[in-house]
């Protein structure tokens, strides 16, 4: 296999000197900004109450460790103060409203002041430049432009860098491909799954990766795996960079990869990150998977203290060879909402998916069933066999099953009962797939 990186070398470039600030200096800046942030949220009703009940104030913040004395903020808290009860500035100071896609009804709104917008654009510019963007490039943004922070957030970042934007927005895949080819677009920005759609459309039109002018892409807004990256890179003939963000924190720009593609640099001069055990809320050991918690220390309109993202990832504080001094986060490996506790081990459906992707000859259609026939949890993973991979040889079929079994064990540390099932036999879902059936006795809460 020819390395895609060899075809297109992305040179390491740093957009903002703040990205390489010595750590001691960074920590001093964080502390100063944290104190300021706590002062600024003191009149937000939620924090006024929370601070009063725990007896903390800006004066009680003497070191960064004091962050742990502050209350957490959750998505439910934001919902309780719908639509804009968390504002820390007058409405007149706002210049933009965005919102998260409300899967449970109403969206969660977020707001920005002019200064917030400036910082946000700059943060997007940081990861875009870290991942190869230069002013001379043509960039196609295939994110939806709307309440969703992805479209406008990246748009502003690209604008900041000075590259040419093709604001294609989402949808109409053949047209996306036409724009890419006719305008000689080098950079694609969208979700990783949409990148694969575009790759599929190219294949359908008989195009080879070499015929697609794209050189690299920045993908985010949904969790994806390393195998998916490999597929995108091979099928589009590009280098694929991962970035992370969520509207409550700011939108895209919270973190992003550098050319080394070994974790996403968190913009720590604007966000203090913690990684906690979602059950105990105590910090996990460095390198362990936990829920990411962000404190937005520079945001004016809607600063959040210790916002629980429900995203599970690992932090890596070892220095990166790119020269940035910031902590890196791994890909999001799951959501606390999806987390299963099996025989005391935290398991995410995404890990099963990752295992299946490693085994050729399985479809992405699977189902996890949990039961507790005796004292121990039992897990059955049903995997559809693709027609083209069904073999008349019992040995090959057994080997396929055993490989799935081994990969699941390697990734989760658990032995699961793997069942091969007929194609199309598992339920299909329009939106969010329901992969898990939990038949264990319900927990009494």
């Amino acid at each position: 296999m020819v390395s895609v990186m060899a075809q297109f070398k992305v040179e390491n470039r740093i957009w903002d000197p703040a990205e390489t600030m010595p750590r001691a200096e960074l920590r001093r800046l964080q502390l100063e900004r944290l104190k300021d942030c706590v002062r600024r949220v003191a009149d937000v009703p939620f924090y006024r109450e929370a601070f009063a009940s725990t007896g903390v104030s800006a004066d009680s913040i003497r070191s960064l460790d004091d962050l742990r004395r502050l209350p957490f903020t959750t998505k439910d808290d934001l919902r309780r103060y719908y639509p804009l009860g968390f504002l820390a500035v007058e409405r007149e100071k706002l210049v933009r409203i965005h919102g998260s896609s409300g899967t449970t009804g109403k969206p969660t709104f977020v707001a920005y002041t002019a200064q917030d917008m400036d910082i946000w654009s700059n943060l997007c510019a940081r990861f875009l430049v870290a991942g190869g963007l230069r002013p001379e490039h043509f960039v196609q943004i295939a994110f939806g432009y709307g309440l969703f922070t992805g479209g406008f957030g990246l748009h502003q970042g690209v604008e900041k860098v000075g590259a040419a934007i093709v604001p294609a927005s989402a949808g109409n895949t053949p047209r996306q491909l036409m724009l890419i080819c006719d305008l000689n677009v080098q950079v694609l920005i969208c979700t990783p799954s949409y990148a694969l759609n575009i790759a599929e459309a190219a294949r359908d039109q008989g195009m080879t990766p070499e015929q697609i002018p794209l050189k690299f892409g920045h993908f985010g807004a949904e969790p994806w795996t390393e195998d998916m990256r490999t597929r995108i890179e091979q099928e589009l003939g590009i280098v694929a960079f991962n970035n992370y963000g969520l509207s409550e924190v700011i939108g895209p720009g919270v973190s992003g990869e550098c050319t080394l593609q070994q974790g996403m640099h968190i913009q720590e001069d604007h966000f203090i990150v913690e990684c906690v055990d979602p059950d105990t809320l105590e910090p996990v050991a460095t390198g362990e998977a936990g829920e990411l918690v962000f404190t937005t220390i520079t945001k004016e309109a809607l600063p959040l203290i210790r916002y629980r993202t429900r995203d599970i990832a690992r932090l890596d504080d070892t220095p990166c060879r790119c020269g940035r001094t910031t902590v890196r986060m791994s890909r999001v490996i799951g959501r606390t909402d999806d987390m299963l506790i099996i025989r005391g081990v935290n398991v995410f459906p995404s890990q099963i998916e990752e295992a299946l992707l490693r085994v050729e000859g399985t479809s992405p259609h699977y189902q996890i069933e949990l039961s507790r026939p005796g004292a121990l949890d039992q897990v059955t993973v049903r995997v559809e066999v693709r027609p083209e991979d069904f073999s008349d040889r019992m040995r090959e079929m057994q080997a396929l099953r055993d490989r799935i079994d081994r990969e699941i064990h390697a990734i989760t540390g658990l032995r699961m009962n793997v069942e091969l099932v007929k194609p199309q036999s598992l339920e299909r879902f329009q939106g969010k797939a329901k992969r898990v059936i939990d038949r264990r006795q319900m927990k009494v809460e």
Binding site: F390, D392, M397, P423
Partner: protein
């Protein structure tokens, strides 16, 4: 020389065998012989049918996973030691049998067995070298029609 065998992926739970068999019934395809191999998790149903193309199309339309595999049918004298003579040839040529099962009918005083070898071409050559001719599909179908 070789026969086309249909292999079906079957889940190891009740009622799974009925569906493909009924599809063949409705398509009017006669099953000449079948065998079911199973593991704890799944099974493979192997069949020799009268019209394999028609059967395959009907089964696939019905949502079955079908694989076409080549096998050979050998006549085995129906008396003690009959199979042993065949196995002697197989041993002499170091052929590896993956599986075998038999037809329900006999040709004269001979049984007919289905063999799947790891290396099918080597197997055909070996038997021909020994003057053993695998039963052709035409002969099989004619026999089945009797």
């Amino acid at each position: 020389m070789k026969l086309h065998q249909l292999s079906l992926f079957i889940e190891n739970k009740p009622r799974q065998l009925r569906s493909p068999i009924r599809i063949l019934a409705e398509a009017g395809v006669n099953i000449l012989t079948l065998c079911l191999a199973d593991t704890q998790q799944f099974g493979i149903l192997r069949m020799i049918v009268q019209d394999w193309q028609k059967a395959k199309a009907a089964l696939e339309k019905g949502g079955c996973v079908v694989n076409v595999t080549e096998v050979i049918a050998l006549e085995v004298p129906d008396h003690p030691g009959g199979l042993d003579d065949i196995l002697a040839v197989i041993e002499e040529f170091s052929l590896n049998i993956e599986y075998t099962y038999s037809f329900t009918f006999r040709r004269g005083n001979r049984a007919v067995l289905v063999f799947r070898f790891e290396d099918m071409d080597a197997a055909v050559e070996a038997f021909q070298a020994k003057g053993i001719n695998p039963v052709s599909s035409v002969e099989i179908y004619e026999q089945a029609n009797v």
